[in-house]
Amino acid sequence: MIRDITIGQYYPVDSPIHRLDPRVKLAGTMLFLISLFVFSGYFGYVIATVFVGAVIKISKVPFRYIVRGLKPVLILLLFTLLFNVFLTREGTELFSWGIIHIYDQGLITAGLMAVRLVLLVLGTSLMTFTTTPNQLTDGLEKGLRGLKKIKVPVHEIAMMMSIALRFIPILIEETDKIMKAQQARGADFESGKLIQRAKALVPLLVPLVVSAFRRANDLALAMEARCYHGGDGRTKMKPLKYKGRDAVAYLILFGYLGLVIGSGFLPL
């Protein structure tokens, strides 16, 4: 069901990862994404997978819950797989039929690409699973505050991001509600041909868009009523401060990065 979408949502448990400073998690996610593109040997895959596995374990977010969030990227994954399998023309040919040729190198590239993609999604969703939108905004704002000097609207970008994240679950809930309400009037979203299905979405999409605007309007009003005027001169009730555990986390991160880069020099 639509409620299974978990991308960008916070998962409320208490774990060492949850307690980390959001800046550590932001930097960690960036480093992890970069690491995914620098390693070349098989050993790099092993290290990255073990690293993500360990973080998932420590974060106490149920594995099942994370996997459910992977569903929406499944289609993307499938496309990547097919393209790699059918379009790679290297190595030895394993199978050919008409214009379709499958090479062993294609299969390997496709498999590795899939692993990289899954790791990429896992890494980023771990950040949102363990960090509330508010923390994320604070972390982003503070972490990037140097960019303000060159006129980058850091506060606004952070605010937009946190509102967008905050709205994902609201819109999902709204979609679920409207779907149910239309189903109660006999709407059918699950069967029929493509065109029929597309048509069936109208009773869902129109109210959804209307409600998104209504909510945006309400939010703007509520922010205005509380004298929101951007980030200038705004103070924080809980300013971010690095603690000992954050230093440890940074050390582990750099250790991981070193390992990944080092693994490239192994003869594997």
Binding site: P12, R64, K177, I178, R185, G186, P207
Partner: protein, 294 residues
């Protein structure tokens, strides 16, 4: 209760119904536990409970929008979770008006929006039109609005259009989830009077979900009180309001006239029992006054 099997064939029966949201996650919520109810044909039932007590979850079970995670629901003797049960037909027989139903309007005109339900049932054009106009009339939408855009209407009018959208399927059981939420007192009374009229004329079962005792006491002949996912009590308004002290403990209250008549009795006015509606209080007081003069 002493129901014969023949009677149960006409009813909606809930047998040890359990429902858990998000089982196995940190969001796990046991929304309903061990619900056993028989909802009879033609009854006017008020379903009350504090916010979060599981009322909306319960009514969404009745037309198969959510399936119980434990227990069974039978409609006319058939288990509605069974694989071969026709859910689409159930949804036309059990009409559910959601909370804030005006949020689901989507068509360009009022008439088209109300026709959505009957059209989905696969009825002919003539039958669809007839049901649409009958429903609009029943819900009290005035004729000059039929071709207006539903988005231009006032809050109360939108809500009537949305109710008409469900009535147009001519359900046997009409469920309204907090139909008065967010309306002003006048809009509230108008909608409730309409619902009472729909019940009186249509020979339908009506289930009115509310958290206001005043609203339901006036119309319902049976009250089901929910608390924390369980049925707290079930009976006539009189029986339920007798327990007003217990109701207070779960964040509900009897209608104000019940408190007033209780106070009068304590002050020495010889009323036979507490009143639950204003009209009843009037009758009791008049009877007492006439009796006193004689």
């Amino acid at each position: 209760m002493q129901e014969t099997t023949r009677d149960l064939q006409e009813c909606m029966v809930l047998d040890h119904v359990d429902y858990v949201y998000g089982a196995g996650t940190a969001y796990e919520k046991h929304a309903l536990s061990d619900i056993n109810l028989v909802l009879g044909k033609g009854e006017f039932i008020g379903l009350i409970g504090h916010t979060g007590s599981g009322k909306s979850t319960l009514v969404q079970h009745l037309n198969g929008l959510i399936a119980p995670t434990g227990g069974h629901i039978y409609y006319r003797g058939n288990d509605i979770s069974a694989a071969d049960f026709n859910k689409k037909e159930l949804r036309s027989k059990v009409g559910l008006v959601f909370q804030y139903p005006e949020h689901q309007l989507f068509e360009t005109t009022v008439v088209k929006d109300v026709a959505f339900g009957p059209k989905n049932m696969g009825l002919s054009k003539i039958e669809t039109d007839m049901r649409t106009f009958a429903a609009l009339k029943e819900a009290g939408v005035s004729e000059e609005l039929y071709d207006a855009s539903p988005f231009e209407l006032s809050g109360g009018q939108k809500r009537r259009v949305a109710i008409a959208g469900v009535l147009a399927m001519q359900p046997d059981i009409l469920i309204l989830d907090e139909p008065t939420a967010g309306l002003d007192p006048r809009g509230r009374d108008e909608i409730l009077d309409r619902i009472a009229q729909i019940h009186a004329e249509g020979n339908r079962t009506v289930i009115l979900v509310s958290h206001s005792m005043e609203d339901v006491a006036k119309y319902a002949s049976r009250l089901i009180v929910m608390n924390e996912g369980k049925v707290f009590c079930d009976g006539t308004p009189k029986e339920v309001f007798e327990k007003y002290r217990e109701l207070e403990k779960i964040g509900l209250a009897a209608p104000q006239v019940t408190y007033l008549s209780e106070a009068l009795r304590q002050a020495g006015v010889a009323l036979p029992h507490n009143a639950t509606t204003l009209d009843e209080a009037k009758e009791l007081l008049l009877a007492d006054w006439k009796g006193g003069r004689r």
